[in-house]
Subunit: 458 residues, 2 copies
């Protein structure tokens, strides 16, 4: 009897299994698989510069960070990993960031296969597009855009760096940092990030352009290329552009203002360097994760500001994380609307449905719960008698929002801490909605017809 | 011409002015007036124990803290203020907590006046009741309940303390702390709060009963007395009781667990003392503000937990603050519902309307914004080169949620910091909704008929 069952169970082949899975479940599985492969590769002795394996835990942490385009590191990428290890990291970043599914579609096209509805649904989920038609075209478009951005940036950076490090090194660094920047991964080959180029216009402009473009999301970039005028943009694109601009502006002004009081950062810099530094550090929390200033030397107030910006994060359907700029915008809109007495919620002469507002609510509530729970766990595992709460909150938010900026705690994490942060990076990359849909049981429609009753709020 | 206008302006008398005000505006005005009167009285030399005025700023801070039933103090209430000053504080607490309007109605009844619709609307706003009918009866009921609770508690505490401090002192302390506890004010006459009674069952039970009852809100207490069985309770009462019980339980277990590792707190205590201490400290963030453990000696993790509990706070229509247990419950419910695929949101076989969920959303978004903005300002004004962010976040949340617990920052605040915290206490006591309605221009109904458009969330 038992034997018979086992036999039957084995007969359910992989194909049947993937057919039974919903798109969110499939996406989760692929991410887990990528992390597993990355862990194996990075734990090989040949991946380490010393020729001795970095160990399973650190390889697992690095692979998770790369696949989830996070950028938090427990060992220094530039010195601990060999060139082979660094290439593995770059490939994981590219697959995790560009979207393995986009890659899958391209592969399928190249191999002449037909793409079924199932696959279309999965691509739709990862690229957050509205319909399942025209997806192949979209994927090709995305691939071309990503390639064009990274190629052009690599060329420019190679020329910029050739003088100081020779053509070979310059090209290698240029490609690695271009891939890392466009995919909002934040992995750098220098232990102080991009601090050597704090006032360098070329490096600043190229890197910022890359990660801002990647963080806007493919839909927005495609619309920017295709429609070109504000009036023709969709509501989504308008909200993304407006809220990104506001967050960038507010962050720039506040950081410039606050850090001007800081002898550890701005005192040694010229005014143009200060401007670039404030601009870079206000853009990077939109989940790029690069930095040109030592985050740990900044004022607590600036660090809190960066935490808030990281939590809001980038835009949907891109390589960035966080609750997303659109979620933030919709929540503020709904709040102001309620304070004004309610009614229809609208922006740019378009109505925003209750469904979207409820999604925004669910995302923000679960995200706050996640960051607070992780912070609580880390205050226990990482030196429970010390008070370094801002650092803990910073790393928790950075892990969840896939930003990868650090005040220094991550490099000193305990083993338990590393596992907690790795899981947080994974949850953050999938996002609360995808994760919930992947883990939820079959959706039960709630029974209709309950009588309404009043509850006092606030 | 100008003269004529001035003349006309003066003619608009106070009566006309109050008639033009909305209930939220009226409530705000009365609170400001109470704070003004309190400031004047507490700055008198006779209010200070030394006979020398405590100064306008500290008097203003204490008056605001008392009227807003907060409990944060910049000077020690027991040693700095005279008996006269302490009585002023107790009266301000009673008026601010019990609700000046309830008091006003009682006075009006005693004076034989008729209560108009306008007054009824104001009472409705302050007591958060559903209709304007039966308000006089409700006010009387509330008054009787408050008086009964405080009287019985005072008698018990007098007997408890008579042995150690004599009948006169015992009675004085009993009345002061009963008033402070029932109104969730958290003002104590001892500088270490109630730490001397950490394991004392009588003091623990009496004080906890008082502030928990006050924090449940009058509607719930009235229902508890009148309806008695769970089935007959309204949805509001059921949600309040359930979420309060869950928060109390979770807080108790976590604090007991976490502090067991702490040599600075639980190591010196017996098991029964630990139990009482964990119970007291898990109940007090529901905005009572008393403490039997030194909050500053607790672990960062426990402090973070208390911050979260303070932010959630007590229940609507009572003497407590925070976003309220019902708001928290509704948000969690809406989030889970969205993750399960949407549909009608319901609890205890009752539907919860979109209107209520939107109010909850507005309250939580504006409350988070307020606490973060205040924290950001305090990191700048209170030693911008030091990292004591957890303390700053703790005091900001404590001020906003009218809890009044402190890790010690408040007693060392700069003058600017005192003003910021005082304003936060005021905003927190009024609540975001009342404040917004008081400050908002006449409600503009949004234009109907915008076409819907999609936005990507999360
Ligand atoms: K990143
Ligand atoms: K209080």
């Amino acid at each position: 009897m038992n034997r018979h069952r086992n036999h039957k169970f084995i007969k359910i082949n992989v194909n049947q299994l993937t057919n039974r899975m919903s798109p969110p479940q499939f996406i989760m599985l692929i991410f887990l698989l990528l992390i597993f492969i990355g862990t194996v590769l990075l734990s090989l002795p040949m991946s380490a510069a010393s020729g001795l394996s970095v160990g399973l835990l650190d390889a697992f942490f690095t692979a998770t960070s790369a696949v989830c385009v996070n950028g938090l590191v427990v060992v220094d990428t530039g010195t601990v990993y060999s060139v082979f290890g660094q290439i593995v990291i770059a490939v994981l970043i590219q697959i995790g960031g560009l979207g393995f599914m986009t890659m899958g579609v391209i592969l399928a096209i190249l191999l002449g296969k037909k793409i079924g509805l199932k696959q279309r649904l999965i691509i739709q989920q990862t690229t957050q597009s509205k319909s399942t038609s025209g997806l192949v075209k979209l994927c090709l478009y995305i691939f071309c855009i990503a390639f064009a951005f990274e190629a052009i940036a690599s060329v420019i950076l190679t020329f910029r760096w050739a003088g100081e490090m020779g053509w070979g090194q310059a090209a290698y660094n240029a490609v690695f940092h271009s891939v890392s920047a466009f995919n909002n991964a934040g992995f750098a080959l220098w232990s102080d990030g991009l601090s050597s180029y704090i006032g360098d216009p070329v490096v600043n402009i190229v890197i910022i352009t890359l990660f801002v473009s990647g963080g806007l999301g493919y839909i927005v970039i495609v619309e920017l290329f295709r429609k070109r005028t504000w009036k023709k943009f969709s509501l989504h694109t308008k909200i993304v552009l407006l809220s990104s601009a506001i967050l960038l502006g507010v962050g720039f002004v506040l950081l410039l203002l606050l850090e001007s009081f800081n002898p550890a950062t701005f005192a040694q810099l010229s005014w143009s360097e200060r401007g670039w530094a404030a601009f870079f550090q206000s853009a990077t929390p939109r989940s790029a994760g690069f930095n040109t200033l030592d985050i740990n030397s900044m004022l607590s107030s600036s660090q809190l500001l960066i935490i808030i910006l990281m939590f809001i994060g980038a835009s949907s359907g891109g390589t960035g994380g966080g609750i997303k700029t659109t979620t933030f915008f919709v929540l503020i809109l709904a709040t102001i609307n309620t304070f004004r007495g309610g009614g229809q919620i609208h922006a740019f002469d378009r109505k925003i449905s209750m469904d979207i507002i409820m999604r925004a609510l669910a995302v923000v509530v679960s995200s706050i719960a996640c960051v607070l729970a992780v912070s609580l766990m880390l205050t226990v595992t990482e030196g429970m008698y010390e008070d370094h709460f801002l650092e803990v909150l910073f790393e928790a938010t950075s892990a969840f929002s896939t930003t990868g900026l650090s005040m220094g705690l991550t490099s000193e994490l305990t083993s338990t801490g590393k596992v907690i942060v790795a899981i947080t990076m994974f949850i953050g990359r999938l996002g609360p909605l995808t994760l919930a849909y992947a883990l939820a049981k079959k959706s039960r429609k709630s029974k209709l017809g309950y009588p309404e009753d009043h509850v006092l709020i606030g």
